[in-house]
């Protein structure tokens, strides 16, 4: 029997869609025939989006020595793939900032967690020499995008969720509980959303397998970087919802990445410094 989420996936129009300018920009950024002028013109219809894209483009993950101040510059300096990921990341802020009642997250909490995880993914990538680190940043930023869809379904069945959490909190991870209730977990659904938005396949697979990176095939490294970043963000306590830290850690993948005992604490230390710096700048 099809579960509620299977039904939802049969109806693409129920998946969150980007505003027209973003959708059109993503289409053009994926098209070889479109030129940079066309892309810039479409993006500039949404000035909020442009501001957010430029803010991300000037973050440390892109290592750009000179400030990027226009969309055209971003296209030239970073390239189309990076700008496409930035557009998606900037566009996802609206979805990620909403309250997620199924996870008991208030407005802004999932966005805060996502930004911290993006930051952590950039730090982990640097630690294990994964390139490009900006890809890790965007994958970290989007890793929980599936929660945006599953939240509503979990909220509708909160009594069943509470019962499962009470009975199985020591034996089942939260994503296993999602799977039992809804036949899909938020990581898998996030991967489907990335495919739906025509993001680079590797990004979609990193999101899909961020909770079990050993199953990500050739993309196990990026999935493992995001896995570690998510774990660090939860450990630091950013954006903890009803799922808390109820996830399992795939040590084998982290060891394969080259991390050794104590490495993640070094990264956590740096993450706290960066988050406190960001908080200071935001005041």
């Amino acid at each position: 029997m099809a579960g509620p989420v299977d039904e939802m996936l049969d109806f693409g129009d129920k998946l969150p869609s980007f505003p027209t300018a973003i959708a059109e920009a993503i289409r053009l950024l994926s098209s070889e025939s479109a030129d940079n002028d066309q892309i810039a013109t479409v993006l500039q219809r949404d000035q909020g989006l442009v501001a957010q894209v430029l803010k991300l483009a000037n973050s440390p993950f892109y290592g750009v020595s000179r400030r990027v101040s226009t969309v055209k510059q971003a296209l030239l300096v970073l390239g189309r793939n990076a700008v496409r990921s930035l557009v998606v990341a900037a566009g996802s802020q609206e979805f990620l900032s909403r309250p997620q009642p199924g996870y008991l997250l208030a407005r802004g909490q999932l966005w805060e967690h996502s930004m911290a995880a993006g930051t952590a993914a950039g730090l982990v990538a640097a630690k294990v020499h994964y390139r490009p680190s900006d890809e890790a940043f965007v994958a970290g930023l989007l890793h929980d995008i599936g929660k945006v869809v599953l939240s509503e379904y979990l909220a509708e069945r909160s009594a069943e969720l509470a019962e499962l959490l009470d009975m199985r909190s020591e034996t089942m991870t939260f994503n296993e509980i999602e799977l039992e209730m809804l036949h899909i977990d938020h990581a898998t659904l996030g991967g489907l959303l990335c495919d739906h938005w025509q993001l680079p396949p590797r990004l979609g697979r990193a999101v899909r397998f961020h909770l079990r990176p050993g199953d990500a095939g050739d993309d196990w490294q990026l999935a493992s970087v995001v896995h570690a970043a998510n774990a660090l963000t939860l450990a630091v306590g950013i954006g903890l919802g009803v799922d808390g830290l109820q996830y399992s850690l795939d040590e084998e993948c982290l060891l394969r990445l080259g991390l050794v005992e104590g490495d993640l604490e070094v990264v956590a230390d740096e993450l706290v410094v960066q988050l406190n710096r960001a908080a200071t700048l935001a005041v």
């Binding site: 660090l232 630091v236 954006g239 903890l240 009803v242 808390g244 830290l245 060891l255 956590a268």
Partner: protein
């Protein structure tokens, strides 16, 4: 009532009976509270990691450095350690199905802070650590009462830092 939030790796001392000190969303980090019931003074640190280097600019962030630092900041501490109430809260850890200690920061934090307290001749009067859930911790400076909030669970209240009472 004024509520002051103590951020990541930060600390605060208060003698204002109308103030409440708060740490929002503790994951694997530790909330270390030192309370002097005679002076009605509270110190709260948001301790992130088991160990730091000597000469750290932010000793409150590390279990092995925070205890002497916070005792110093509390100042005018009671004459005997027995008079000082100590609470240790937090230290949640992800579910781990392996054997490595790669990311057992929560467990390591909890062990490190208790060891550091013992070294200073202190024993926690309240120890609320572990599990997989995040915690929010509130300390009422006037009464010394600590409230631990966990999503979906009744508040745990430690009145006068002695015994837990569910409300």
């Amino acid at each position: 009532m004024t509520t002051t939030t103590v951020g990541l790796g930060q600390w605060r001392v208060s003698r204002n009976p109308g103030e409440s000190l708060c740490i929002l969303g503790l994951g694997s980090a530790i909330a270390l509270c030192l309370y002097d019931p005679h002076a009605r003074a509270a110190a709260l640190a948001h301790v992130m990691l088991p160990s730091g280097r000597d000469g750290e600019e932010t000793p409150a962030k590390y279990c092995d450095l925070v205890v002497p630092f916070l005792l110093d900041k509390l100042g005018d501490a009671p004459a005997t350690p027995e008079d000082l109430r100590v609470a240790v809260l937090g230290g949640a850890t992800m579910m781990c199905r392996g054997t490595s200690a790669l990311l057992e920061i929560g467990n390591r934090n909890a062990a490190a802070i208790v060891a550091a307290l013992n070294e200073a001749g202190l024993v926690p009067t309240v120890l609320d650590v572990g599990g997989v859930q995040g915690r929010t911790v509130m300390v009422d400076v006037g009464s010394g009462r600590i409230t631990v909030k966990v999503l979906r669970q009744p508040d745990r209240v430690f009145a006068d830092l002695t015994a837990p009472t569910e409300v």
